[in-house]
Every structure is written in C-alpha cells, then in structure tokens.
C-alpha cells in the first residue's frame, strides 16, 4: 500500500485537520468529527445534516457551505458515523426550523441516523425529518436485499435541496423536494480497479487487467457482475442502458453527472461523458445541466458512474441558485 498517510489509524483525524486548514467555507469539530459551515445560516431556516463513511470526498464535507449542507458527520473510512456525532450536529445547526437528515441507503447509515433522530428529538426537542437516497439501479430493489444503494443522486440532491432550504422553505417542503429529487434520479457505476482501504492495507478485491466490475457501489464492494473490459463506448452503454430501462428520462430537462470514482483522470471522465451524452441524445433525453468530475468517490478506485436526474423547471432553478462550497461553487 502506497498512500499519503501517517498511519492507517489516523487517516480521518489527519484529513479533518487538512479540511479545517484548507477550506475557508467550513470549521471542524475535531472531537465529534463534524464539519460545519464557517458562517451558520440565519435563524428560521431549515438546516441540512448529512454524513457517512469517509473516502467519498468531496462528499459530504466538501459540500458544506452556503447553498448546500450545514453540517457533515465524518465516519471512519467507509463506515457510517455514530449517532452521537449526528445528534450533536443536529443540535448545533438547528435554527428553530428543524433539521433534514440526508442519508444514503446503507444498513449502517440508516440505523445510525435513526438512532440519532430518536436522540435529538428526545433530548433536544429538535424537529427532524429524513430523506434516504436510493438511486443505484445496479441493485435490485426487492424484499431480498437491503434495497438500492444511495449513490450519485445524493450530490445533486444536496445541491437542489440546499438551495430550497436557503430560500427559507419549511421542513415539510424541504423534505418533499428531497424525496422528489431522489425519486427521479438513477445511477449506475463501474470499476476498473478495486480501491485500498487504509486499515485493510490491500485492495478490497482482485480484478484482472482485462476485466471490469459493472454495477459497483462506492465502497470498493464487488459489483453485480464481472465482464471483459470494453471500450469507453461499450462501457457507456452498459451504464446508460440500465438507467434508461429503469426510468423514462425523456420529456423533461435532465441533470447529468459523470462522476469519477477517485482514481480516473479527468481526461477520461470527459471522454466518458462524451460517450454518455451521445447515448442520451440518441435516446431522446434532453440534457439541461451537467457535472463532470470527482464528486462521490471510492478512495483510489478507478472507474466512473453516471447519474441522471429527470428534473423540472423548479429543480433547475434551485440547481442554478448560488452555492459556495469546496466541491461546488457558482453564482456567488
């Protein structure tokens, strides 16, 4: 394992020091491992708290700031944060209008956020609502799985819902748009290589040079199936088709994200986006906004994911609203 770390045990604590020092939009509570806005939002506005395992940066800490999150709870690498962290963050950011928890659908994240919401309501009287993202079409949503994973739509949701909260909408309205964004978003990911979790010291899975994993999540877990490595054009089809099979994306403006898994150069991400855009155009999907880059990563995994959100004019307006975070910044 070759990594820019001091020791596997101190990766998170050391990275939080760097985030504190390097991102003027945030301040870090190093004891509770919560990243807060440097300038809290005004009283009477709904606050957004998200969080999850570390290793997906810029998600979630890099999306704390004006127009997006109020706080992000950082767990160990690929491990959900704990209820006490979330409870503390919830109490600190509440401006009297309630707090929305944005949770990616993983067993651990959901259980910890549930415990945190119970604690925050019981002990601090904070009104808490939650949205659980589950946009990954690689996972069959059935009684026989933990349900679809929350992946790329989480980025788009934090932006759009962040703008809605910034406008001053109440908690019910903020939760409603959050659920609407999640319901209209679909993602599919693939990996060229595994990633190496610092505490494990070696790649999570072996992947021969001539093969790839289709349908991976964001934790270096193996995907749905392993196939021969194809061209960018072929890979794009294997990502776009399952998304369009799952939800008709025509007849509405789409927001599309071509996301890197952390170990793939931006040049290849642009190349992949070109292929994806061509496929979407051919399928009659009208792309209104795009993001191409590393936004929800899986440590040093090489690969990418595609997220398509079937948006509407309201979502586009909220998407275009000003945002100032380390991960997304425009209009301000």
């Amino acid at each position: 394992m070759k990594k820019l770390i001091n020791a596997p045990e101190t990766v998170l604590a050391d990275a939080l020091k760097g985030i504190d020092a390097g991102d003027p939009n945030v301040r870090v509570d190093h004891v509770n491992r919560v990243i807060y806005r440097a300038a809290p939002k005004a009283d009477g506005k709904v606050a957004l708290v998200s969080g999850g395992g570390s290793g997906h940066e810029p998600l979630h800490g890099g999306f704390v700031g004006f127009g997006m999150l109020d706080a992000a709870c950082a767990g160990e690498v690929f491990t959900s944060p704990t209820p006490d962290q979330m409870q503390e963050a919830t109490k600190v950011v509440d401006r009297g209008a309630g707090v929305l928890h944005i949770v990616k659908n993983y067993t651990g994240d959901v259980m910890n956020f549930e415990m945190a919401a119970e604690l925050a309501v019981a002990e601090a009287g904070v009104e808490v609502a939650a949205v659980v993202t589950n946009d990954d079409v690689a996972v069959k949503d059935s009684l026989y799985t933990a349900g679809r994973r929350g992946v790329g739509i989480t980025v788009l949701l934090e932006k759009i819902v962040g703008a809605a909260a910034e406008e001053g909408r109440d908690l019910a309205a903020v939760k409603e748009i959050a659920e609407r964004v999640n319901a209209h978003g679909r993602s599919m990911g693939m990996a060229l290589t595994s990633c190496t979790v610092p505490a494990a010291g070696k790649p999570t899975f072996d992947l021969p040079d001539d093969q790839m994993e289709i349908g991976v999540g964001i934790h270096g877990e193996p995907g749905r199936h392993r196939v021969d490595l194809g061209s960018a054009k072929e890979i794009a089809a294997q990502l776009v088709e399952p998304i369009l099979d799952d939800l008709d994306m025509t007849g509405a403006p789409a927001i599309v994200m071509l996301n890197g898994m952390g170990g793939t150069p931006q040049l290849e991400l642009y190349l992949m986006y070109g292929e994806v855009a061509a496929l979407l155009e051919k399928a009659g999907v009208s792309v209104a906004r795009t993001l191409v880059g590393n936004y929800i990563t899986s440590l040093d995994m090489a690969g990418c994911s595609v997220t398509v959100l079937k948006a509407d004019d309201e979502m586009l307006g909220l998407w275009d609203a000003p945002v100032q975070t380390a991960g997304l910044r425009w209009g301000r």
């Binding site: 690498v77 704990t82 006490d84 993983y106 910890n112 933990a146 494990a200 999570t204 999540g217 270096g220």
Partner: protein, 214 residues
C-alpha cells in the same frame, strides 16, 4: 475466571467482554478478510476499535451493577463503532442492560432472559430473520441451544458451551446462504460461498462466554 455455583458476577462479565475484545483484536484481519469478500472491508477494524474502547472505559471505572455495566458497553459500542455493527452490537448490549436490572450477580436463567432481550434489540434495529446471512444466524441458534440446555437441567457451563457450539454451526451455515440484509445483499448470488463477518464475530462472542464460564 471461574464461576461458582452457576452465577455470573461483574468480574465474570468483565472477563467475558475482555476475552471477546482479545478475540476480535487478534482476529481483526480475519474478520476484515471475510468482510472484503462480501462487504466493505471494515468489520475487523470496527470491532477491534469498539471493544478496545469498551475495555478502556471499563478500566477507568468498573460499574457496580450488571445493568450499568452492559448499558455502558452498549453506549460505548454505539458511539465508537459506526457502520451497522455499532448500532447492532450496541443495541444488543443496551437491551441486556435494561433487561438484567440493578443486580450484581445473575444465574443461567437470568442470563438466558437478558440475552433474549438483547436479540430482540438486534431484530428491532436490523429486521433480520433466520437465513438472511447476518449475525442473527449465529446468535439465534446460540440462544435456542442455551435455553434447551437450561431446560434440560444443565449447568451454566454446559449451557454456554452449547451456545458456543450452536453459534459456530450457525456461523458456518452462513457460507451457503445468499445475503438478504446488509451490504452483502447487493451482491445477490455472489454473496454465496462466503461466511458472514457478523456471524463470525458473534460466534467469537459466544466462544468468549463459554471460555469465561470454565
């Protein structure tokens, strides 16, 4: 630590937890390896971190009653582990603490009752059923075996040995199962042919219990 006349003292409980802490720490790479195959490669590190925190807290000050002891263990796991195993193991011990009451010793029947309450907490939190390929698959048979041994008039030592053996059988049975809960369920049939990491650490919990009541 030996138990006299089939009762469990605070020292016994601490010895049980200490033995469990040693096992998950010594076997952390093994647990992580199991988790790498069908999960996200963190179960060993998480359990080792959690149980190290538990033992550190108990060394600072050992609670004077069993309920305080187990509640403290549960809260420490909930706040130090994260992932799914934090809330699951945490809720398990919290419910044991709530069930056992402010006592300083308990007998086999008390232990069976509070372990059953712990299992109830696990189910409330994780909604797992037998055969889902989770820690439930090791724990439920272990408690059934404990109860059966108790009903047959066995000693506490025999009860914990029966629980240990049943937990190991339950753990091994997860090998052929297709996961229906947790992160391994994303793999569908590819989760077959691997032991469930949570069932493996649960088997260690009962091995530690049987080893303590020797």
């Amino acid at each position: 630590m030996t138990v006299t006349e089939g009762t469990i003292t605070i020292d016994d409980a601490v010895a049980w937890l200490g033995s469990f802490a040693r096992q998950v720490t010594e076997q952390r790479d093994y647990l992580t390896e199991l988790d790498s195959a069908i999960g996200d490669a963190d179960h060993g590190a998480n359990m080792a971190r959690g149980m190290t925190a538990v033992m550190g807290k108990l060394e600072e000050a050992t609670p004077s009653t069993l309920d305080e002891l187990f509640k403290s263990v549960g809260m420490t796991l909930v706040t130090s582990v994260g992932g799914a195993s934090g809330p699951l193991y945490g809720t398990f011990f919290l419910r044991i603490g709530t069930s056992i009451g402010a006592v300083t010793t308990c007998d086999g029947a008390d232990l069976a009752t509070c372990l059953r309450a712990g299992l109830g907490g696990l189910v409330d939190r994780g909604k797992a059923e037998l055969g889902d390929k989770t820690m439930f698959d090791a724990m439920a048979p272990a408690l059934d075996a404990f109860d059966a041994a108790l009903a047959a008039g066995c000693t506490l030592q025999e009860c914990t040995a029966a629980a240990r053996d049943a937990a190991a059988v339950g753990r091994d049975a997860t090998f052929d199962l297709v996961a229906r809960k947790g992160r391994a369920s994303y793999l569908g049939e590819r989760s077959q042919g691997h032991l469930d990491p949570g069932a493996a650490s649960t088997a260690m919990l009962f091995e530690a219990l049987a080893g303590t009541i020797a």
